[in-house]
Amino acid sequence: MSLRLKYQTILTRLAPAGAVGVSLALGAASPAAASEPPTGAQPSVTEKEKVSERLAAVRDAVTALDQTRADAAKAEGRLAWGNWGWRGGGGWGWPNWNNWHNWNNWGNWFRNW
């Protein structure tokens, strides 16, 4: 199975929970601190792939899911994605405003909506 399909399988499961639900799921997937090795020593399930390839595969998976959801929503006459945030509707606004690290963007979400 391709890397993109692996991510797509996972994201299909996670996406209906919305941005906060995804974050909770990913946070809960963390091993406890005491058992976590440093990143360099961490066995990766995708260690043959470069980071850029992993990132590209995630984005391809998101795009494919987006299209699938949009097609389904169109057929059913409803909005796609609901509160899943990558289109700026409910959690992870886009584009990324205010990436100055001495400030943060939570107070500026009003721009995105």
Binding site: I10, V20, E36, S52, N96
Partner: protein
């Protein structure tokens, strides 16, 4: 984006950083601001010149965030801000949203400030570095006394008045080793929105953290454990900037590109109390550089804002920043999550804007990205590419 295409596009100011005074009532050990004992105050005429030109320029058509910072904003009286905000309201075009924000050390927050913050709908960020033993290591008065008691009293005032706020905590090697202690502190103080900065090298300050062996892995482990703790206590910590940003930058559609505000002319525009104007990383204003004329493009009391876009200094800085971004694009696996990094860190870590990787970006961009990718790949079912039960505690959508 090339320099030519930037030159042909009207700048869009998204964030305006205004220094009401360079003075700060405390003296943090890692502070990079060189002029923090100077008690000068920006003149009303300087504010009038700034905002009238910003609004007349057409450079702020999509709304404007104004951050009062780079000195402690609350050392000035509330009356100063009442006058300033009224002035700005009188100048701004109808329908343009202007949102004021303070980044404060919190030590001066009292009931009167809380009432004013609520009344003026000011976004408040409080700098507090965690529990007392960690906070007081660096956030001290000029006589070396810790400021924790006053800072946490300020946070409690905000909570008692129901004023929303976020906290920015600077992480040091000591706090990186104590994610549980940091987490427990935020929970105990009812802090729900947290941002983590790292102690970085800027200006004359040389980061002790960056010199530590293993600091990048320590950062990864800190974020990982903090995220795990947050997920185990749903609804308590509502926002972790570094985690939210990393997720948004990783899990996004293919066609969404990163906009690097810190490398885009005037997207962030900074003005010091004298009216000097700078752009790119706000920290640049106030730092010294013979090569870049101390990063000052002009002065709002003497120059026209729209003409600053044509200054040779801006082109020189932009060319070097663009060269650095090009290096990042060619050489960095993580380019798509940060768009070329932060100019100020390149300059003060590597000696030039026209460089690529920094310790700052290895920590805050690369390790945070690794963390999100690693977590995605640890969701049950990933390896097999099959559906499987989610980890416990993650089933309920919260939004």
């Amino acid at each position: 984006m090339t320099s030519d295409s930037v030159a042909q596009t009207m700048p869009q100011i998204q964030l305006l950083v205004v220094q009401p005074t360079p003075f700060c009532n405390i003296d943090c050990r890692y502070c990079y601001l060189p002029d923090r004992s100077n008690k000068s105050v920006v003149a009303e005429e300087t504010l009038r010149n700034l905002f009238s030109q910003v609004f007349a320029s057409g450079w702020a058509q999509e709304g404007l965030s104004v951050v009062w910072h780079a000195g402690e904003p609350m050392v000035l009286p509330i009356a100063f801000y009442r006058r300033a905000f009224a002035l700005i309201d009188g100048l701004k075009p109808t329908g343009l949203a202007v949102r004021h924000s303070f980044q404060t050390n919190g030590t001066l927050i009292d009931d009167a400030w809380c009432d004013f913050v609520a009344e003026a709908a000011i976004n408040i960020g409080v700098s507090i570095d965690g529990p007392q033993r960690l906070h007081d290591r660096n956030r001290v008065t000029r006589t070396g006394r810790g400021t924790f008691g006053k800072a946490v009293a300020g946070v409690r005032h905000l909570r008692q008045h129901g004023v929303p706020f976020h906290v920015i905590s600077v992480l040091t090697p000591e706090s990186l080793a104590a994610p549980r202690e940091m987490f427990d502190f935020y929970l105990a103080e009812g802090i729900e929105h947290v941002c983590f900065n790292v102690e970085e090298s800027e200006g004359d300050h040389r980061s002790a953290s960056f010199a530590e062996a293993g600091i990048e892995d320590a950062y990864y482990r800190f974020l990982s454990e903090f995220w795990r703790l947050s997920a185990a206590h749903p609804g308590r910590i509502q926002f972790i900037r570094e985690i939210d940003d990393a997720q948004r930058n990783v899990i996004r559609p293919r066609d969404a590109t990163f906009f690097n505000q810190l490398a885009t002319p005037f997207a962030i525009t900074s003005m010091d109390w004298t009216g000097n104007i700078a752009t790119f990383s706000p920290e640049l204003l106030g730092l010294k550089s013979p090569l870049y004329d101390d990063f000052v493009l002009g002065n709002i009391n003497r120059d026209r804002l729209v003409q600053l876009a044509e200054r040779p200094l801006l082109k020189r800085m932009r060319d070097d920043i663009d060269a650095g971004i090009a290096l990042c694009r060619e050489s960095c696996e993580y380019f798509s999550v940060c768009g070329g990094g932060e100019p100020v860190n390149k300059l003060f870590e590597n000696g030039s804007f026209a460089t690529a990787e920094t310790t700052y970006c290895r920590m805050t961009k690369m390790r945070a990205t690794d963390l999100v990718l690693d977590r995605l790949e640890r969701i049950p079912g990933f390896v097999e590419g099959r559906e499987a039960a989610l980890p416990s505690g993650s089933a309920s959508p919260v939004l």
